[in-house]
Subunit: 73 residues, 2 copies
């Protein structure tokens, strides 16, 4: 798994839910600039941050991580 | 998923392989004290670190994360 694949997965889940980066950052308790960096694959999030994002999507963390792994190939 | 569950999963995989924390830290390119803190649930690793640990175990990252999620319940 790599940063690029994780970022792509986040972007896909977010766009599927039709919410902005700002809304995601609000829901997850993260800075909007950090969410932007994550989606662009510029940061490697901690597991705690991954959990916060999964919660913001109301999705199982493993589902988000499986998508991230597929997108990392 | 939480730090405690991830730490427990790492410890279980490591003990199954019969390797020391020192050997794991060497293989993963991490400090031994950091590996110790991870196993005790004191740190939330980045996805990059999780990947390094999975590689050190020669196991799929999703397998390690699935175990971590089960141990977090």
């Amino acid at each position: 798994m790599n940063e690029r694949g994780f970022g792509q997965a986040v972007k896909e889940f977010r766009e599927r839910l039709k919410i902005s980066q700002e809304e995601l950052s609000f829901r997850a308790g993260l800075h909007r600039t950090y969410v932007s960096q994550l989606e662009r694959g510029l940061k490697s999030p901690s597991l705690r941050t991954v959990q916060q994002i999964a919660d913001a999507f109301h999705v199982d963390i493993l589902k988000l991580l499986q998508r991230a792994e597929r997108r990392s190939k």
